[in-house]
């Protein structure tokens, strides 16, 4: 049995980390069962592999402990070669790294200021001061000031999504006719938003919204049935 340590809110059933959702979807893709163990930002010393590992997800699979969502995904692909591929071969693996980097470096930073105040509100009380301090430093303003800039931030998000919109308008998944880890890497950010906030991120009719809906329906509605805040 695989153990996956993942971020939880004050409600331990609220699992909202974009990086942990990547791995939840990857495990479902591979048909692998796992135990999902709640962790909080301020539990840093308690992770397998601590003090080296201080962030989730961390996966423990038998004697192997792997941290970092991308490393976990490539480990699953290597260790479970007989279940459906996450990457579709070597070219798919290399190119997926760019899509992961885009999700990390463009999409998540575009979403963070829109979501940060809502995230803080659903955290365990002991995590809130840590989250506020680290994210306000990253954002360069208070969480509430960031949320107040919504009208400026949403058009920026829509512009950032242009490459995803182009693909969503022409093929079912970033992986082609079937979803790949690239889809999960990007979808994790939308599931993060959906789990913590009721903010409408996408305009009606945006092909990105249709792609998100398709992702929510995968694996018998796995992500669509996840606990959300409020």
């Amino acid at each position: 049995m695989i153990d996956l340590y993942e971020l939880a809110g004050a409600d331990p059933a609220l699992r909202f980390s974009p990086y942990c959702w990547r791995i939840r979807m990857a495990l479902a893709h591979k048909g692998l069962e796992a135990r999902f163990i709640p962790w909080r930002f301020t539990d840093k010393g308690s992770l397998p592999g601590a003090p080296h590992n201080i962030r989730v997800p961390v996966m423990v699979d038998g004697s192997r402990t792997v941290a970092d969502s991308t490393d976990i995904a490539f480990t699953l692909e290597a260790e479970y070669p007989n279940s459906p591929s996450l990457f579709g071969g070597p070219g798919g693996e290399a190119h997926a790294r760019f899509i992961i980097a885009w999700a990390d470096q463009a999409l998540i930073p575009a979403l963070l200021p829109l979501l940060a105040a809502d995230i803080c509100a659903i955290l365990a009380p002991k995590d809130r001061a840590y989250f506020r301090q680290t994210r306000e430093k990253r954002l360069g303003c208070t969480l509430e000031e960031a949320a107040g800039r919504r009208e400026v931030l949403l058009p920026g998000l829509h512009a950032t999504l242009a490459p995803l919109r182009a693909i969503a308008g022409r093929q079912p998944f970033l992986g082609g006719d079937e979803p790949s880890y690239a889809d999960y890497a990007v979808f994790g950010a939308f599931q993060w938003a959906r789990c913590v906030s009721r903010l409408a991120l996408l305009p009606p009719g945006d092909p990105v919204a249709a792609w998100v809906d398709t992702m929510l329906e995968l694996f018998d509605g796995y992500a669509g049935e996840a606990r959300v805040a409020g």
Copy 2:
């Protein structure tokens, strides 16, 4: 013999289109010889497949005429399966489409305002009014006003490049250990800039600059030896 119709400047040896450079590199990758036929923006009626085809690149390979750089790349991959793959398999093909879309929708739009005035200056005189009119409409300002906003636009470009920077810092090419069409799709934009402008786009030490240099050296320095303006 393949014929590739491509954009030329007033100097017919100056070939600077980012989309045409994608195909130049793809042809070199496949080891295919071609004739490169100069075309100007205002020659719309003269392309093979006109009046349907009004943009370059257009490839004529025997009885087949293909327009659109992405369609040409996929055609080359399908028609020349025994030469090195441009995509690295089905997963590589699907994921490459996102990287192409990022180059089209994020990178080229971030470069256009920085380059547009320089591009206009190297065009054949008969093309200049067409270029100015269409690009000023797209930019929402004059070419010269856009060039004057360089100090604001360059930090935006550097932010846009974050995903490419992350990959350039960890693996030789977007394609992994070997270049793929994804590399050519992105590199075309840098070669466009290099052919028309002396503007320093990247700060010293940027991993993206090292990746561009590597691309210029491929195929015995093919892109590095191309004619540049000035």
